[in-house]
Symmetry: none
Subunit: 80 residues, 4 copies
Amino acid sequence: MKIDPEGLQAPYLQLADALRARIKSGEFQPGRKVPSQTELEDMTGLSRNTVKKALDVLKVEGLLITAPGRGLFVAERPKT
Amino acid sequence: MKIDPEGLQAPYLQLADALRARIKSGEFQPGRKVPSQTELEDMTGLSRNTVKKALDVLKVEGLLITAPGRGLFVAERPKT
Amino acid sequence: MKIDPEGLQAPYLQLADALRARIKSGEFQPGRKVPSQTELEDMTGLSRNTVKKALDVLKVEGLLITAPGRGLFVAERPKT
Amino acid sequence: MKIDPEGLQAPYLQLADALRARIKSGEFQPGRKVPSQTELEDMTGLSRNTVKKALDVLKVEGLLITAPGRGLFVAERPKT
DNA sequence: GTGGTCTAGACCACT
DNA sequence: GTGGTCTAGACCACC
């Protein structure tokens, strides 16, 4: 989950790509498993809003679901 | 990065040459590193459009890549 | 908004009664206005969960609406 | 384009709704017409990021297209 | 603890 | 001027 703040791609896109890959590879199974936003902040060194922007991408793609007070979930039937 | 407004070559070409030399010398590595357009303006005393013209030359040459809102990047595999 | 921990009624019911009275009296208008959960904690000295129980009562009654991340609202058309 | 910062709905959703309505009503025709982000900030009193969040919603819906340095456009064939 | 929302400000390239 | 990105901090309800 290496993010390069100086890289060509925007950090939030790098994060989205990394998470998408982990989900599609099956590393993150439907159910919980996904690190929380706070954990992702710590893991990547990104700010809250940037992490959320990455998650927004995956939510739109139907891969992730967020639940206030509960955490992040991998969608049951991700659109491949 | 001295630019001579009265020189033989047009200022934007002088700038392009100077930047190309720095890239090929390895001073600017693939990844980030390249000064922003604004910085180049300050460094050279040239106008926005002149700086842009210099960058356009290098973009056409495949040496530079630009990412809106992110900055200027040296291409990963510069076409020598 | 005095709450008596030793009173006849459970504290959360006392809070619910106090808030209901304020809403019906028009002190809290439809729209925003209602103090946040955190503010209610400070005002009453009650715990988070106790405050929540009081609010749950009013939500069930249709007097209050809650919006995650936004706050507490008096319902537009309270069921009298 | 009245936005109530204290309203039940999140301001960015209020803005998205207002713009969506204007687009679907034909007030904003395909082409330019849409107020810039800066104008929307002034019109609504919202912050930059909140305006952008509203626009993100409409971009995902396929109603709006953004072009760096050019402005906001109503999509040619909005999905109804 | 979790995620949701908003603000203020900064820097970037693009036209 | 335009939109795009990132940071830092604040407050909120939810579990």
